[in-house]
Amino acid sequence: MVACCNENKQILNQHNQNILSLPNNWYIKSNGPGGVSTLSLRGGSSSQNNTFWNDVPINNPMLGLNDLTLLPLGIIESLTISKSGNTGSKGQGSLSGSVSINTHDPDPAIAELTLMYGSFGHKQINLQTDLEFGKIKWQSKLFILDADNDFSYALNGGSDQKLNSNADFNSKGTIQTLSFRPNTKHTLELNYWWQKTDRGIPPLSTQTTSLARQYDDQQRVNFVWRYLDNNFKLYNSFAYIDEHNDYADPQIMLNANNQFKRWYHHVELKKNLGEFSFALQNQSSYAMGKSDSYSDQNTLKSVSPMISIGKQFRRTRTQFILRKEWSNLTDAPISPTLIINTDYSNGLSSSFKLSKEYRLPTLNELFWRPGGNSDIRPESGWNQELTIGYKPSIVYFEIGLYHRLINDWILWTLNDGSFFFAVENITQVRSYGTDITLKAHKKYNTIDITTHFNYAYTRSFSEMSINAPSIEKGQQLIYIPEHTATANIQADFSNSSLSFLLSYTGAVRGINEMVEDYLIANIYLDHTLNFHRHKVKAGLAINNLLGSDYRIVERRPMPGRHFNLFIKTSFN
């Protein structure tokens, strides 16, 4: 595949255990520590981007989104965020972008133990072991996380304080990877991810108490067969996902039990012939949801073949992708993608993408009673992107421009005379904006200085007015900030690292009220001691250094200044 614009790989370390502390201008709608966090890319909704683990989409097919809070960052190696329409290469649901999770440590120690302690009762243990038996490798990762999240926050910006109660977050899990490489061409890999999370749902700032809890039980199994022979690659992946998502609120005597199972197969063949590259791919998915609110019909089956042809012309590389998906309920449109990447002289590069993007309805949108609509059409529309990169020396500058017009936007709406909200293809949503990135790296004697600046301007609005929910034509959609920016400077010296991050998010419209803009500062410091085959790394992170009183979601307070300490011991 031709790499495209606006991809940002975030190498995770023990500093950034908080998904909000990553230096990237993605917008994460966080309901607070331990609360549900969802991602919005380039003005898209949280169900218009996909999260992949080993190329397996792990978004909840009932809701269409992925709760980033449940990602165990302590045992994840990296996240690659692509702010680009990726339906052609990634499949449905990657309309506004995608996140790829890498959980496999490519350069492991024999054993690693990490202990973390932080504010609000945050305690975490991560353990990783790596064993090798000839051609077999076994990487085992375990984690236990426990936090009270009982911070105090100011009410209405005044001096009165309130304690964030019933916000405890308890999660434990494991990721196991067993790989077998019989020869240089074949690799077989078995991945297993189990995780169980129990968390309280704290009261809103306008709510006296809450006893609500949410339980997530996730099992993911993935078997991969890779074949690599000179110019030919085969990637064959089977996955099974079984997740329970239960919500209980004894105060209002509510018990909502939800479960989905998903069988997924991804096969891809790649062949290079001189200046040409060819790829064939097929994704097959069988998703079945269970809920008290579902009818008997609860499955969405789909096959999604794709063909890709690429050609290299001197400095320009082009790729044309064609995808067509069929499902048992609703057929997606043919989705072509054209990518043209050019490297000019003097460090200048450009990337142009023209693509038809789409998203199939979620199981809730199809089957929820009342209001689900099995006749709903996929959201779909054209996407245009242009990215210009310039790297004259130690500086890299990139500006991305995009425009997307999505038809048949799926919305829960109240029709005239109806007594419940129902799913409709109700409007057309236009999104456009720009992403600007500036990176620089310079070495002063023994000190490596890296700076990273991001700014995003995002407009996303409906092309028509709607009564319920109340949306005016041209009005920015809720929880889409027009302006976001981050600035990060990091210094690495003598086995030590110091990093400072400033993050600005502009005001957004909430469901009930405006959420004010905010500026957050985080600082990280770590130091590594080497003892022969034994390495010890210790660090400190101070988040919200400025003690900003802020909300990301209305009525959901965020913590003030708080810290995390960690110590990581590695044995080789």
């Binding site: 209002i252 005597m253 109240l414 949306i471």
Partner: protein
């Protein structure tokens, strides 16, 4: 099927004998303890003889809106699982039954029977339902605690009552604040926690009454405050035309009746006689200019019957029992 015995309408002469009153207190609904009627057993609503309370029930989703009759007393449990109780723990003055309104279309209506439309003025009692009361007091996952984070938000939850007459809705209205946090002094903020008398006589004579809820807690999806309230002890006061007609001379006999019921000394002029059974079902309706008339009861089952007589004097109601044997 639950056994339903509809409320009787008490028609009586008031002490000052200037008017007659149709009084509905829902007490004749013989509901089991802690239960309600939301349209599941009685689709379309309820008619307590001369007052109609419509509702819609969807059996697929066990979902309803409009009016329900209830004797649920739970004033503790928050949330939508407790949507049929009044915060007073019952009806007015400790009575058991009352009506609950759940409004999702922006307006709920109490309709008067054509027999008394445009003839009387109304008074009634209003109470908060437990669901919105606790939501306003404590907040919930959707609606805010009134006063907001620091107690200073000028929140309100109001009920606006207007009348329909001859197909037109009145500009005049009576507004009841079910909760009012708009006072400078927060100590004056309140949420109604008992029945409150509401005088609708200033609206004048009505065909029907319109009830509309408003709240300061409004989001993109409309009012967040649960759109419920309770009603009880509804009186429709129908003035008599002249002093000489204050006392009804009408005689209805025999009681119990066997094959016929005889009505004598009817007022002069056009009269409409309507017979209802104990379920509130209309059995027959007669129009006459005569001063005397007999109604044949042979095809009717034994039981309690209500006879409404509409004349230039207003409405008179008589209750009698139809017997199988002499």
């Amino acid at each position: 099927m639950k056994k339903i015995i509809l409320s009787s309408i008490l028609v009586f002469l008031l002490a000052d004998v200037n008017s007659q009153s149709v009084f509905v207190d829902f007490e004749s609904y013989d509901l089991p303890e802690e239960s309600f009627l939301n349209g599941a057993d009685n689709p379309g609503g309820f008619t307590t003889n001369l007052l109609s309370f419509s509702n819609v029930y969807n059996p697929n989703y066990d979902f309803w809106y409009g009016w329900a009759i209830s004797n649920v007393t739970d004033t503790i449990t928050p949330g939508f699982t407790n949507q049929y109780s009044s915060i007073a723990g019952g009806g007015v003055d400790g009575s058991k039954h009352f009506a609950v309104s759940y409004d999702i279309l922006g307006e709920n209506i109490i309709s008067l029977d054509p027999l008394i439309q445009g003839r009387g003025t109304v008074e009634l009692y209003i109470s908060n339902a437990t669901f919105p009361y606790l939501s306003m007091r404590d907040g919930d996952g959707f609606a805010k605690k009134f006063g907001g984070e620091d107690g200073n938000d000028p929140d309100f939850f109001s009920l606006t009552i207007r009348k329909y007459l001859d197909g037109n809705i009145s500009q005049d209205s009576v507004v009841i604040y079910l909760a009012d946090y708009r006072f400078e002094d927060n100590d004056l903020d309140y949420i109604l926690d008992d029945w409150t008398y509401v005088n609708l006589h200033p609206l004048g004579k009505v065909d029907s009454l319109s009830f509309v809820l408003n709240s300061s807690d409004v989001g993109n999806y409309g009012i967040n405050t649960p759109a419920y309230f309770c009603v009880d002890n509804i009186s429709v006061n129908i003035p008599l035309s002249t002093e000489s007609e204050k006392l009804s001379p009408i005689k209805v006999y025999p009681n119990p009746a066997l094959h016929t019921i005889q009505i004598d000394q009817l007022p002069v002029g056009n009269k409409t006689l309507t017979l209802y059974n104990a379920m509130g079902q209309k059995m027959t309706m007669l129009k006459t200019n005569n001063r005397t008339i007999a109604i044949n009861l042979q095809d009717y089952q034994s039981g309690t019957y209500y006879l409404n007589i509409l004349s230039s004097q207003g409405v008179n109601q008589f209750t009698f029992f139809k017997s199988e044997h002499q």
